[in-house]
């Protein structure tokens, strides 16, 4: 229990620190929401006053802190709506994309790694090279490449959110680099596992190679792979930021970009809260998974 509590508190601290940092950075960026061409200085001053932007940053921050203690993230300037409601709707869209991408990355990356780690033929070498290639392409570039393919061929919708077909381009853009990362880890770790005396003993008992790999080797190789899932969730969020913007996926990344572009500071902080919460939840989940899968890393010993 102590472990969970400590990790939970650390997660809260992370969310708080990220949101405060976002608020401060949005405040430091030149310009504010009220200042726009086409308004007279009097109109701008009136809008600043209405939105509370004419107060010193310390006061604005204190008010934000006080509100956020009651889970009130304030109102978005541009949407005139509570930030929490806007963020909730968009976070759900990001979650759909992230979870789909995680499933696809896992379903592709793990078997890919098992194959490249346990075999040494021409196909395995080719798959290894492919993985390095995919790994070295950032999601921004891969999403642009996939968009071009989708636009040229008309196989999939090029952007936006609609039916399951709309998921294909952003999911692949987000999932492929992660699949490649999982492949690298899984490949390394299954290689190590297959060299262990326990797998040699299993082979000596006459167990078929495929069963040695999948039943014995794979299970032993899982711990290091699971350990990075927390980081993967973090990279899913940062990767989805770029992918959402390129493919117009209406998630947190796109919302945060709009908020930053218009200096909608409450909304920037709200998006940062949600993003940090995603990351914290991912780290927490991977800690727990690690503890469950590796008996040597019991929850008590981790605490």
């Amino acid at each position: 229990m102590g472990f969970l509590l400590r990790r939970g508190l650390a997660a809260l601290l992370l969310v708080f620190a990220v949101a405060s940092g976002a608020l401060l950075l949005a405040q430091l960026a030149p310009g504010d929401y009220a200042a726009q061409f086409g308004k007279t200085p009097a109109q701008i001053a009136a809008d600043r006053h209405r939105l509370g932007l004419d107060r010193p940053f310390g006061q604005q921050y204190a008010a934000w802190l006080k509100r956020s203690l009651t889970l009130d993230l304030g109102e978005s300037f541009q949407y005139d709506q509570p930030v929490a409601a806007l963020v909730r709707a968009r976070a759900a869209n990001t979650a759909v994309l992230a979870v789909t991408a995680l499933i696809v990355a896992t379903a592709v990356g793990i078997p890919w790694g098992v194959v490249t780690g346990s075999r040494n033929g021409a196909i395995a070498r080719m798959l290894r090279a492919l993985s390095l290639l995919v790994l070295s392409v950032p999601p921004l570039i891969s999403s642009l490449a996939l968009l071009t393919i989708a636009a040229r061929t008309g196989w999939f919708p090029v952007s936006g959110m609609g039916g399951p077909r709309h998921l294909v381009v952003p999911t692949l853009a987000l999932a492929l680099p992660i699949a490649a990362m999982l492949e690298r880890l899984q490949s390394q770790s299954i290689g190590d596992a297959l060299d262990r005396p326990s797998t040699t003993a299993a082979r000596a008992r006459g167990i078929p190679e495929s069963r040695v790999i999948w039943r014995h080797g794979w299970r032993q190789s899982l711990a290091p792979v699971l350990a990075v899932y927390g980081v993967i969730v973090g990279s899913l969020f940062s990767g989805s930021f770029a992918v959402e913007i390129v493919t117009s996926w209406p998630g947190l990344g796109l919302l945060m970009q709009q908020a930053l572009m218009t200096r909608d500071t409450n909304l920037v902080a709200g998006c940062a809260v949600a993003g940090a919460a995603f990351l914290a939840a991912g780290i927490l989940a991977s800690d727990i998974m690690l503890a469950v899968t590796d008996p040597r890393m019991g929850i008590e010993s981790m605490s």
């Binding site: 007279t40 709506q81 409601a85 959110m161 796109l254």
Partner: protein, 570 residues
């Protein structure tokens, strides 16, 4: 139509004849046979922040576009002819002094929820518009010399509108006022919550309007679906009730114009609500047009060109060290030094024409070929600069001021846009006459921030025109106006003369007199040149091959302005 035009062309006729009856229907779309039904998809770059056009944030482009689809004004400005045409008001007459307009409302019109439309809705609309608790961003545009219009409603079909001062565009001003349903919004106005009414969380389908469509679905971040208003009052020449479309889907495409273009090319959107085609996209679109998948339509020469303005606010800190920036000769020299054709050919790939002032040749009624021009003339530019003591004193090829400091200034421009590329071109051209220009590319809020703080030497930017009549764009001309960006402080004597001329222009009785006064104001403008204009783009609109009935115009929304007449081509 001919009678209609004659009547509108000379406002003198309206003012002096005392009563010009407008009984003509607006030109109904010619029947398209079996074109009724189907759906079109339009992309829009941002979502509306509210469905309430009168809200403080109701002046954003998407809110305006939605309002135009869902609501209707008493009088509409025909975006093609530029003339007012009867809309919810079927005719009107004008008092001999030209200040009081008696409008007769169309009979049998109902809101989309079936409630009859009466003059009480008009009275309520103006009450909400001017209510101080609403803080409507629209209100200042529906005032004459800062005073509201007086509205009275002697009977359910008659509205009497009195202008506080003579105003030549007259009822054209009403184009900007969508009529709202009193039965739905009176309670919010009474409770002082009107500004927050009809936010984006309002259930779609519950907001009644008099426009061709009703909002039937709103999915945050994704799309908004508008369906046919079954009670819409307009019909085409064959008597078919408009709109032709069953549905109009507005997809929110936030990835900028690249994302919109991609969708247009992939066929998932039929038109772009706000975007004209960028010069760099024309070649690709021409190929698609030749393959038959898109249509390209020219709307004319843009009426809202980008402009370079200097910070002329008296006493501003940014230019104290460079007094020459305050000299009209300096700005005129820049205007002569720039090869506008080169900008048109290089930056706009030929899809632009040189312009020299705020009124471009695209504005047919108000453009005058006699307005001052600044043809490319390096020698003249050099002599103007030498005349204010700017010359090359150290032989390095660059100009120096009287104290020996190099002559130069910075231009702020919006990052990643054609404005940034044009500013870079200006930089290169001015280097050739010895002026060192630094271009700082910023995002829009940072640009506004620097402008608001007066922390700039010059800015290259543009403003979207909302009307072609200069009397309805007075914010540019009048000191203190929101688009009078070069000087936010006390007006200079020449600005005061321009103020007086433009006030006269807005009230003058005849078109010829108004044109003459505008030309005079343009001459004062060119002499002092607070803003330098270089090119105006040729506006091209791209549509999928499915879009029928489109009549692209120069003011936004360029295609959706006549959404009730759009149809799906089979």
């Amino acid at each position: 139509m001919a009678r209609h035009s004659r009547c509108a062309l000379t406002i003198a006729a309206i003012l002096f004849a005392g009563a010009c009856n407008r009984g003509n229907e607006p030109a109904a779309p010619v029947s398209t046979g079996s074109a009724r039904g189907g759906a079109l998809t339009a992309s829009i770059r941002s979502e509306p922040a509210t469905f309430n056009r009168f809200a403080p944030n109701g002046n954003q482009a998407p809110v305006e576009a939605v309002s135009m689809l869902v609501h209707a004004p008493l009088v509409r400005i025909n975006r093609v002819t530029g003339e007012p045409e009867p809309w919810l008001a079927e005719r009107w007459s004008v008092s001999p002094d030209g200040r009081t307009f008696t409008l007769v409302l169309r009979g049998g019109v109902t809101f989309s929820d079936g409630t009859p439309f009466t003059s009480a809705d008009v009275a309520f609309t103006f009450q909400a518009l001017y209510d101080p608790t609403v803080e409507s961003s629209l209100a200042s545009g529906v005032m004459v010399q800062g005073k509201p219009l007086q509205v009275s409603t002697p009977d359910p079909r008659t509205v009497v509108i009195t202008m506080p001062a003579p105003f030549a565009p007259g009822v054209a001003m009403l184009d900007n006022v969508p009529i709202l349903p009193k039965h739905q919004l009176q309670a919010a106005l009474d409770a002082k919550t009107f500004a927050k009414a009809w936010g984006i969380t309002t259930p779609p389908g519950t907001m009644a309007g008099l426009g061709p469509f009703v909002i039937s679905e709103y999915v945050a971040g994704q799309r908004m679906t508008l369906t046919r208003n079954l009670h819409y009052w307009r019909k085409d020449t064959a008597g078919t009730q408009l709109p032709y479309l069953d549905r109009l889907v507005m997809e929110f495409v936030s990835g900028g114009q690249d994302a919109e273009m991609l969708r247009l090319q992939a066929g998932s959107v039929d038109l772009m609500t706000q975007a004209d085609v960028r010069p760099e996209d024309i070649a690709a679109l021409r190929r698609l047009r030749d393959q038959g998948s898109v249509q390209l339509m020219e709307a004319g020469i843009g009426v809202d060109p980008n402009t370079l303005w200097f910070n002329l606010t008296p006493g501003n800190a940014a230019v104290k060290a460079k007094p020459y920036l305050q000299r009209a000769e300096f700005r005129r020299a820049i205007s002569f030094a720039i090869d506008r054709d080169a900008i048109a050919n290089t930056v706009y790939l030929g899809a632009a024409v040189p312009v020299y002032g705020p009124i471009t040749p695209g504005n047919k009624t108000w453009y005058s070929p006699s307005a001052p021009t600044f043809p490319h003339d390096i020698a003249r530019a050099r002599s103007l600069l030498a005349g204010i003591g700017l010359s090359d004193r150290n032989g390095d090829g660059m100009l120096d001021d009287a104290t020996g400091k190099p002559v130069g200034f910075s231009i702020l421009a919006q990052r990643g846009t054609i404005r940034e590329r044009t500013a870079t071109m200006i930089q290169e051209q001015l280097r050739q006459i010895g002026i060192a220009v630094a271009v700082a590319a910023l995002d829009v809020p940072a640009l506004f921030g620097r402008f608001g703080a007066g922390d700039y030497e010059s800015i290259y930017h543009g403003f979207q025109a909302s009307a072609l009549d200069p009397a309805m764009n007075l914010d540019l001309w009048l000191s203190g106006g929101s688009a009078h960006v070069w000087n936010t402080g006390a007006a200079a004597p020449w600005e005061k003369s321009m103020d007086a001329l433009m006030q006269q222009q807005a009230a003058a009785p005849t078109l010829a007199e108004r044109q003459r006064l505008l030309l005079e104001a343009e001459r004062i403008f060119a002499e002092n040149l607070p803003q330098i204009y270089f090119v105006a783009p040729r506006v091209t609109v791209a549509l999928s091959r499915r879009v029928g009935g489109a009549v692209p115009v120069l003011l936004d929304p360029k295609v959706l302005w006549n959404a009730d007449s759009l149809f799906v081509k089979h």
